[in-house]
Subunit: 437 residues, 2 copies
Amino acid sequence: MTLHLNLFLHDTGHHEASWRLPESEPLAHIDIAYHQRIARIAEEARFDSVFLADSPVLWGKPSRRPSGKIEPTILLTAIAAVTTRIGLIATASTTYNEPFNLARRFSSLDHVSGGRAGWNIVTTAGDDAAQNFGLDAQPAHLTRYDRAAEFVEVSKKLWDSWDDDAIIADKTQGVHARDDRVHTIGHVGPHFKVRGPLNVPRSPQGYPLLVQAGSSEDGRDFAARHAEAVFTAQQTLQDAIAFYRDVKRRAIEFGRDPNEVKILPGLVPVIGSTEEEAHALDAELERLIVPEHAARQLATLLRVDHLELDEELPADLPEEAAIEGAKSRYTLIVELGRRERLTVRQLIGRLGGGRGHKTFAGTALQVADTIEEWHRAGAADGFNIMPAVLPSGLERFADEVLPILRQRGLFRTEYTGRTLREHYGLPRPANQFALPV
Amino acid sequence: MTLHLNLFLHDTGHHEASWRLPESEPLAHIDIAYHQRIARIAEEARFDSVFLADSPVLWGKPSRRPSGKIEPTILLTAIAAVTTRIGLIATASTTYNEPFNLARRFSSLDHVSGGRAGWNIVTTAGDDAAQNFGLDAQPAHLTRYDRAAEFVEVSKKLWDSWDDDAIIADKTQGVHARDDRVHTIGHVGPHFKVRGPLNVPRSPQGYPLLVQAGSSEDGRDFAARHAEAVFTAQQTLQDAIAFYRDVKRRAIEFGRDPNEVKILPGLVPVIGSTEEEAHALDAELERLIVPEHAARQLATLLRVDHLELDEELPADLPEEAAIEGAKSRYTLIVELGRRERLTVRQLIGRLGGGRGHKTFAGTALQVADTIEEWHRAGAADGFNIMPAVLPSGLERFADEVLPILRQRGLFRTEYTGRTLREHYGLPRPANQFALPV
């Protein structure tokens, strides 16, 4: 029984006000050396992987916090060059890319990193992203998921278009690869027509680890069908257990081994030497949020014109079914506000730390206990660790929480594999087109 | 008067049979450490830049030579991580990408490398590439160039969508960037509708060095209008002078400073201690070509069913105007064959070395003399160096030819700038949207 830990990279930290702390580097988000340093800390701590969220649009107002990001496959390649073991998971959109280009980029990242690439598959919600690609509004939720499913199918065909034994490099005969082991794919479907083969030989992992992070109905089905790791935002242990069981059950229904779908809820640890110290840091961060900015952003997410800071959420919010995009995040926020009867100001404080992910402020021992509790209760195969402040929150987690988890036999002391799939205990996929040897 | 030198990376070398030499690494094309090693040699030799050709399709038969390539922006990012000064030029297609995604990738490469990114803009000829993107056949030559022009226009708007002084990172006031210095672009044109802003702040160079390599009529116009460096294949000094004058003249007609369009013909040096040794190496490489494979590839390029190895080119080949894609390369090959009355076998030998670029076999002194002659005659602002065999051909060029050029004051002994634009003596572009300070 070993936990899997992913570090969710997010410039100066996941708390939206983290950049205002004296310790934070104001240009961290575009500083490659900074990202390389953090990834090395995570590798030294034996994390399974680092991960970057992404969307092809500028998020939020540039005044509010560090905005704009280095494109993830580029940033992770720069990290690959200074690390040797840690996995590298990049988010990329199936709605605003072409399968040939994206499959090639992930295959390239897998080659460059020696088998450490992962792809967080997203369909990209929002009209603003659509407007960067010639559209007026986002395609409907279902259309996006439909395209995503075919996108993954095409990508797998492209990744399999070279047999693993295609290259023989016979200098004497002058034959570099066997032509009959490199296949056109001739894919024709409702969304894509792609001839192939891919212009990169099959990569060390066969293809990147497939990750998914949407928790709507369609998102869960997609995860159960295609994903090998699932990132999810869960506020309570009860909800997390229900989600875990639901996705594993769906995976079985799709004929998959449920152990090959690893579920990692997000966790925002705020660690202090004492509980009081942890809560003080949390309060300090909350104090640094500009509430008017945050309320405006929350109003956009909830599709209302305006929110009163010192009142609870309005009663007449739309149902999830009426929401196109970021469905599960919408429901989570509305339920959190109503369950705990939070004012908008309080809700912003809670969301400022983790944008819907579970924030836990306490001592290292308390954080370790929570992790163990969730894991033993069947809520998590591992965690998506989202330090409120980087790099200090990561260092503290690595120095204080991980030794406790190791003592309890819950986390590795050394890497045993070389590839990202090996870290997650997942097999290298067979090639669907491979000829007999 | 200083020459600019670009190293054209091409796995084991530009000669198509180079991989068959005992010294060559058979998996060089997918080996990142190999590419990093070569780039370090080029940086040690103070080359302006390294460059990767590319197309989103598998070129040629995998049996013939190392096939498939790491995607160039990824490969150059891995090189950026282990170098500090040398420029990094990636080829990318305007026909099979979206401006938002590609502009972001090049901005990211420029950030990651500290201002060393260049983009070789190509429109991608060939039906086989089109068939990887849902089309049956390539768009017409003119349509591709029309889209390319608008693609560059949109990209420049996106690169300029953040003012250089947008980020203030004021921790006290909680203002990271000034919202009025980050602009939507609202581009609407025949090919693209893009809202913006880009989701990356403006990069060290403002935007990547813009490079172009097509020498057809449309290609020359495009180069004269947009390119800051031009790679070209020229077989004779006379043709090279004519091309040089023509492009500079066109640049002036478009209102540009002709010194801001650097012209670099390709040169394939095959260096020996004596002329005899150089010709022996050349002959050894020619002997390793499998002529039947090469003839089949040449026939495809020339749009004929079959070519007889020991006869000259057929008399009834189509005119350039009837060719859609790779127009200038087509004409160059046909003219070379006819001018020197080569058999197909001889022509293959000549092309095997440089695929239409000038091959020069001789001593280091003779190579240096040729470079100086072309430069002084007004045929070249620099050269695109394409060693027949890598890394040995590069090492020999660096160790034997460069000292002669330095002695003559024709090439730098040390970098004076930090960015790719600075190496090429080009200004950092102003921002078209910038507000007054």
